[in-house]
Symmetry: C2
Subunit: 308 residues, 2 copies
């Protein structure tokens, strides 16, 4: 089986949407990435850090999904990273109410020996220096390195971000982040500029408006599935990245045509993620449901026009 | 050849975008619909009205595209409908600077005798009573009636709008209009509610985010082509509707599968429309360019995943 190495936060989230609010629940980029990637026939490991306030049941949950959690460091006397946010009525924007870095502030990632030769590395949103440290620990050049990041690091750690972006094959960011990173409003121009920073593949996530993947002059689009109700968008972008990197790891194929399938899988899994609070929907998701939804993606997008 | 009857404005537009501004140029819903539909092997006619200030060269332009203009009434001593607007920097929103109804205020549409048995009727955005009057003049039930409208008529002529919507097969509106018409935020729920008002097919245009067509539980999505630059969005929605109705008229096939192709054609033609001011790009567009762009739509959207 191929190996997927995931780095990112494992955390507590507290979420308010127009449909309700939660107490502290399981969250974090690596959590969502790992749950999504667990749908594929691969070996995966998460590199992360939590405090000793982090419930064993959450760790067990990840472990029971087949994820190697030996590199999730538990800091005794430390507190787990916490984020709380409130979504606006349209669920397209949100305010951060509170961010407590806690144990994340001094996080030194340690890649487990069994994963220093991972086939695919998924660098979830974290400080660019943490992402760099993970790459530095790889003993073999991974077949594919995927990086997710956010505007916060563009504001606070531009040079470090540029250094790590240079070293990755695929970057996944949202449309506003792509605009900020490139200084271009047009996403076509933004992707072209981001290509020059390093990544050969630029994935731009547009939330309910789907996702684009650019590779030089080639472009492919995966829509978001039109849903009756989006309940909680938290983790959708990470779930998308987990679906993307998990599918690539399983298929051992880094052609652009296969990346098309990968963003369809990412979009597919993300469409489940938003149906309930936090990780709830992903925890109970079955393979049959994912396959059934692939059929929906096909009928949503596939057409047959004769070219004259 | 099959017949497409188009009703809508033939008008002057004055447009400001971040890229420049125009004097009074050729515009109007029926103009854009007619130019788009002229790409298909059909007979089309426009029912509209202009003043005697309307240049013969604009009428000749439509005529030279094979459009029957005999039902574009020229009111002697009257002035042509005029709209001017200014787009914001993101080109997704605009302010109307001026609207002069002029000859449109007393417009009584007259369907030409040769088109009272048209196969497809495209009711462009106009007062619902004008749209109704066109339907009332048909001697045979058209195979397909398509209606475009806007929020203005929801605000000012709700009952008249409901009366005409009842009688159409397809409605094309944008996302905000679908929300206003239905009172539902979710586009899936909005489409379901609009179905109950009459139209069996609900097309929701999302501008740069593509278009959806709903038919009961079925849904299909056509993306907008990612463009380096959108120059002027004016007329894109009408061009989309013209591509949709023109393709349906040509193919004589009102199955949902064929409507998928029709919204791809609509999206295709609209992607050209926005590349220059007003109708400029559509005037010079060639069949070869349209076919080439269909290839781009295919590679943008088509994927092959084996379902396990």
């Amino acid at each position: 089986m191929n190996k997927l190495l995931i780095v990112g936060t494992v955390a507590f989230d507290a979420i308010e949407t127009p449909f309700g609010k939660t107490d502290k629940i399981l969250g974090g980029a690596a959590t969502f990435i790992g749950l999504a990637a667990s749908f594929f026939n691969i070996k995966s490991a998460i590199v992360s850090v939590v405090g000793d306030d982090f419930p064993q049941e959450y760790l067990d949950l990840l472990k029971n999904k087949g994820i190697d959690i030996s590199a999730i460091e538990v800091v005794q006397g430390g507190k787990t990273f916490f984020w709380s946010g409130r979504y606006h009525n349209d669920l397209n924007s949100r305010d951060t109410l509170e961010t407590q870095l806690n144990v994340l502030a001094d996080f030194q990632p340690k890649v487990p020996a069994a994963f220093t030769d991972a086939d695919v590395v998924m660098l979830g949103n974290l400080h660019p220096l943490v992402q760099t440290s993970v790459l530095d620990q790889m003993t073999e050049r991974p077949k594919l390195v995927v990086l997710d990041t956010m505007n916060f690091w563009m504001d606070c750690a531009w040079n470090e971000l540029m250094d790590v972006i240079k070293r990755v094959d695929v970057i996944t960011i949202n449309d506003e982040e792509a605009r900020q990173l490139s200084g271009e409003y047009s996403l076509v121009k933004a992707a072209a500029k981001i290509h020059t920073m390093g990544p050969k593949y630029v994935v731009i996530k547009k939330g309910e408006h789907g996702a684009l993947i650019f590779h030089n002059k080639d472009v492919f689009f995966a829509p978001a599935l039109p849903l009756e109700e989006v309940f909680d968008p938290t983790g959708a972008g990470d779930t998308f990245a987990g679906g993307f990197s998990g599918y690539i790891a399983q298929s051992e194929n880094i052609s652009f045509d296969n990346m098309k399938n990968a963003i369809i899988y990412g979009s597919n899994l993300a469409s489940f993620c938003v149906e309930k609070f936090g990780t709830e929907r992903m925890q109970g998701l079955t393979k049959a449901e994912v396959v059934e939804r692939l059929r929906e993606f096909r009928s949503l997008t596939q057409f047959e026009i004769e070219l004259e």
